[in-house]
Subunit: 283 residues, 2 copies
């Protein structure tokens, strides 16, 4: 099954748009795991097993493993998701961006080494920096459009000139990225998605109107302050799904003691329910 079709199946099966982000910070792990060489793996594995029934996807962030020389634990974690929770897509959050044979090596890293179903990418280097990933049949690429941070406005909110060939008016850079991703850039595979922060609901609505069919990966609820109601109202598609709403810290660190996995499960259920309710109201 392709990334987009397994995502669609997961939305319906779990009736959930929640994605749990796996960003394990060594300084915030529960004391019961301290000193273990495989602490990152064990922490995330317990959170995964506890939250799997409530999610449509998992999103490991590679920096948290790379800074700790823990690539082997990331490999083991993704293998665990595939074997114990088949059908839940794994999005490797790496925000890669490069060209030619370098991009081919990054694609090999994401799809062959880590066996991710999709990877996040920066669009700054253009279509030929995206294409090498689309050569892997059924794998997805999710492009940064309007990110959740304040500095995202520095470039993404700049107004760019019209493009008569594309039929595009003067618009913001993130809108141009959404237009390209929904149009010419998605023709070869149909497996593209877009990142749009929950902290900018008006921009989220704009991206949804430019890219009605694309899955939107939406960070920024929870610790970053994005509002679930506003985000889902702006970003859900007509069937009440269409979004991969990421929560990392609010789930991972919901509890801090031995019951951390149960606390994560409860936080995941509460977030899933809030997303569900918002989607029903938006429908």
């Amino acid at each position: 099954m392709s990334f987009v079709s397994s995502l669609r199946a997961a939305w319906r099966r779990a009736d959930s748009m929640l994605c749990v982000g796996l960003d394990p910070d060594p300084a915030r792990l529960p004391a019961c795991l301290s000193g273990r060489a495989d602490a990152l793996f064990e922490f995330c594995r317990a959170v995964i097993d506890a939250t799997a029934p409530s999610v449509c996807a998992f999103k490991p962030q590679i920096a948290y493993f790379a800074s700790q020389r823990a690539e082997d634990q990331l490999e083991a974690l993704i293998a665990h998701i595939h074997s114990s929770h088949p059908g839940i897509p794994v999005i490797l959050d790496a925000k890669r961006g490069d060209i030619g044979s370098t991009a081919e090596h990054y694609a090999r890293e994401a799809f062959e080494r880590y066996r991710a179903d999709a990877v996040t990418l920066s669009p700054y280097m253009g279509y030929d920096s995206i294409e090498p990933y689309l050569g892997y049949p059924g794998r997805g690429a999710i492009l940064l459009a309007r990110t959740s941070n304040p500095g995202g406005s520095d470039l993404q909110a700049l107004e760019v000139a019209p493009d008569p060939v594309l039929g595009a008016p003067a618009e913001r850079l993130y809108e141009r990225v959404a237009r390209l991703a929904a149009g010419p850039w998605n023709r070869s595979s149909g497996e593209l998605g877009l990142v749009v922060g929950a902290t900018f609901p008006a921009e989220l609505a704009r991206v949804r109107s430019l890219a009605p069919e694309l899955p939107l990966l939406v960070p920024g609820i929870g610790a970053q302050g994005g509002d679930i109601e506003a985000a889902v109202g702006a970003g859900a598609s007509a069937d009440g799904f269409g979004m991969i709403v990421n929560s990392s810290r609010a789930i991972l660190y919901a509890g801090s003691g031995e019951g951390f996995a149960q606390a994560a499960a409860a936080a995941a259920i509460a977030t899933r329910d809030a997303l569900r309710a918002a989607a029903r109201r938006a429908r």
Copy 2:
């Protein structure tokens, strides 16, 4: 010594603007190294030792190591450069781009784990995605401005609206990035540089005029077809330096047999000499 000052010293000491890019492709390694578990390390180590007298910097590309589960070899390689060739700055080509604690983990990966002197970054997520790297005193960050690939034009060549606060006219996106990097974004550390491809000499000249003091990392000569004479004429600063002109494949694979390191040394000397001659003509 900071990244920029060690780079300036290296330009003068070696009288060279050549940077050797370390992009070891397993399919192209010499037969004499085949089957060795540390083949990537040994190949690059031999090229480094043979070319060190001719270069101002080395630029390992992390994807080639990550796709092969060879992070340990990349660590060993950078440690080897620091111990055997002290004073030659190491630029980790990773093109990272993320925010907050994720960016802090990427910075830790680049500067603490790999001990790079500088790292390449994508500017798409804005200044707050650059700032965490600048918190490491003396370490550099080199931002993508105008990349060497044809698709670089997809976003980088878009015309963006004027910015009265910045005093910027309507200009191309890559020009806005250069203006920000030479101005407000460089105020806290003074350790920024820019990536501009040799394949676009007019754009290189434009970036040099917007950022007269910034080191420019210039890929695209050799295999990608950029012309040395045109690139150096456009990008050198008044003192005849200012550029880190990268060559990867043309040096690494100059020879294919047991004499690969000697062939790399000869190719590096020839490229350094061509860069030197072009800089003298430009001065």
